[in-house]
């Protein structure tokens, strides 16, 4: 089986000449299908840039990026939009639910861009919301839901198009420890059911829930295969 993510010598630079900044410096990285990994690193380490490239929100300056076997590094904006729609599910720190839509409608949104017929859309949205435990909150608007529930709606929205990759950017950054657990449990369950999950986080507690930690520093991959145990040791060293 081909890997979900394969970055080959990826560079990402901003600006030119003296002001040139290398946000990613020769990054090569492979994430296999079914993995559950975290991307960590101090701020400015390039982990956000890496997430943008992996999430097809941005293109590498040079190098190759195969997502699910497809070379996406040189695709046009609209082709990237299509890839994001079909292959990637995003979960954001700020949930980014549309306030005027109900939970169900928010989850249906990616399918409208995918051209799924409306009756099927509703069915699949209900299934996705049931999977995150919100079958009884279908018709609530975001402002009628708690933070944890809103993030679960966002997760349902991320998985509803059956993506090959669930990409979460600080998914628990706006949640308390109790709801953080809820959300991480859902990630674990989804991963157990076969979905590849990549979480970008700076919280060690979150990273420890994954099975592999990729550590960025200065735009490079410093550690490619840390385990949660390694992380515990590192944090002990750091403290």
């Amino acid at each position: 089986m081909q890997p979900v993510i394969r970055l080959e010598h990826v560079y990402k630079t901003y600006g030119v000449g003296d002001t040139e900044v290398r946000a990613l410096n020769d990054v090569s990285l492979t994430v296999e299908t079914g993995e559950y990994c975290a991307i960590m690193g101090p701020s400015g380490s390039g982990k956000s840039t890496a997430m943008n490239v992996i999430g097809c929100l941005d293109r590498p300056t040079s190098g190759r990026y195969y997502l699910d076997g497809v070379d996406v590094a040189r695709l046009s904006d609209s082709e990237l939009a299509h890839i994001r729609n079909r292959k990637i599910g995003f979960v954001f720190q700020q949930f980014h639910l549309l306030p005027q839509l109900t939970a169900l409608e928010n989850v249906m949104l990616p399918m409208t861009y995918a051209g799924v017929p409306s009756n099927e859309r509703k069915e699949r949205a209900v299934v996705a919301l049931t999977r995150v435990g919100l079958a009884n909150r279908l018709h609530n608007r975001p402002n009628q839901l708690s933070g944890g529930q809103q993030q679960r709606v966002a997760i349902a929205r991320a998985i509803v198009n059956n993506p090959v990759l669930l990409l979460a950017d600080e998914p628990t950054g706006a949640l308390d420890s109790h709801t953080t657990h809820e959300v991480l449990n859902i990630f674990s369950e989804l991963n157990a059911s076969g979905i590849t999950v990549v979480v970008v986080t700076h919280e060690a507690d979150v990273a420890r829930q994954t099975r592999r930690i990729i550590w960025f520093r200065d735009g490079e991959v410093l550690h490619d295969h840390l385990t949660p145990e390694d992380l515990t040791q590192m944090s002990m060293v750091l403290s």
Partner: protein
């Protein structure tokens, strides 16, 4: 995303923000309503004036003092037309059927203790033919009355009612400028002509008028205010115009600029058309400005909306909306706002036109052209003023949009 989905989505967004959507539409509503009302009123005025001139009949010509240029220069025109001119036209122009010189002024009229001021119109019996007037009771004055300068009067319908009510005025004496006149007839009601009530007038022989009331004020003979002429038929109107012009040039010994103008009904209609067209255009232009301002209102709100919904746009792009999807979404919102505004504005404008038609003599009507243009223009305004904000939205970088505070 297909169009139906986009429209549904736009409606949802717009209804989520009812107050803002309504306020945005208001500009377009007012713009559309005013365009339709103004054009309706302008065209109503045009139709009204045209009908008035058409009611004169196609064979009518008017001879008025002063050249066309002089008429543009001054209101105090030389009194160049005379009763003798009218007689000469009647006897020497073969294409002319009847000639009615008119000499008219406003004069005090009294009957016993009642008094009023009405138009006193001195003319000849041909007036009935030329202007298509008829006597309801009694008789109009005759050629003999004109020759003898008798003091007889035919009353306009309103004057008769005002002085005599239900009683019979025939044979009674009324006073015009302290001269006693015997009532010999009452005219049929004719209504208003260009806002002048033709029933609030009395008719006397033109000779009586000039000798007893106005006096001979023209150095050339018995002055007349203007002369109405009836050509033999529609085909001879142009010939009549030519012949009358030549005759009067000879009579007035014109060497350079004419001191009179001969106008046909067609000329009059043309003038009325020009004036009212200009009026309609001006009204439409003023209304058009408000439509334009409404469009700017839409653009304004859309721009604010794009800023406010940066997160939404970023999110939509992240989950798979292409630039085109976002562009279409915002365009549709703008078009829906302006189209609904256009329809409501058209409704209000139509009501406004109906109100004008019901309360004024203007034959105001809703023109399909005005509706099509107004709705088309407001739809176009939605497109035009929606494009810029929509492009701003479409071009937003999803990363930036999602990260923005």
């Amino acid at each position: 995303m297909n169009i139906v989905e986009s429209v549904k989505m736009a409606v949802k967004t717009l209804t989520a923000n009812k107050l803002r959507s309504t306020l945005t539409m208001l500009g377009i509503i007012i713009g559309n309503a005013s365009v339709i009302t103004m054009v309706g009123v302008g065209q109503g005025a045009q139709r009204y004036a045209s009908e008035q001139f058409e009611s004169l009949g196609p064979n009518v010509l008017f001879i008025i003092p002063g050249s066309e240029e002089a008429q543009n220069r001054t209101l105090d025109l030389p009194r160049t037309l005379t009763l003798e001119d009218a007689k000469a036209i009647a006897s020497q122009v073969p294409t002319v059927n009847a000639v009615a010189p008119q000499l008219q002024t406003q004069q005090p009229i009294t009957y016993r203790n009642r008094r009023s001021s009405s138009l006193v119109l001195g003319t000849t019996p041909d007036f009935l033919t030329v202007r298509d007037f008829a006597v309801e009771r009694g008789r109009f004055f005759s050629e003999l009355d004109v020759q003898r300068r008798t003091q007889v009067v035919a009353l306009g319908a309103d004057v008769a009612r005002k002085f005599f009510g239900e009683s019979d005025p025939i044979g009674q004496q009324i006073r015009i400028r302290n001269l006693s006149f015997q009532v010999i007839g009452v005219m049929e009601s004719k209504g208003a002509f260009l806002g002048n009530n033709q029933d609030d007038a009395v008719y006397i022989p033109i000779t009586t008028m000039s000798s007893r009331i106005t006096g001979n004020t023209s150095p050339y003979g018995t002055e007349v205010t203007f002369i109405s002429v009836n050509a033999r038929n529609e085909a001879s109107v142009n010939a009549a115009q030519f012949q009358i012009t030549n005759l009067l040039r000879l009579r007035h010994k014109v060497t350079t600029e004419d001191d009179f103008t001969v106008r046909t009904q067609k000329d009059a209609l043309e003038i009325v058309g020009n004036v009212t067209n200009a009026l309609t255009l001006m009204l439409a232009a003023i209304a058009g400005i408000s439509l334009f301002v409404g469009g700017i209102g839409i653009m304004n709100i859309m721009l604010v909306s794009v800023r406010e919904r940066t997160h939404e746009i970023g999110l939509r792009k992240a989950i798979g909306a292409s630039q085109q999807d976002i562009l279409v979404q915002f365009m549709i919102e703008a078009i829906i706002l302006s189209a609904i505004g256009g329809v409501i504005g058209t409704g209000i404008g139509t009501a406004g036109v109906a109100l004008v038609a019901a309360t004024t003599p203007l034959k105001a009507g809703v023109s399909t052209t005005a509706i099509l243009v107004a709705v088309g223009v407001s739809g176009g305004i939605g497109l035009f003023f929606g494009v810029f904000p929509a492009r701003q939205a479409a071009k937003l970088d999803p990363i930036v949009a999602l990260r923005s505070a």
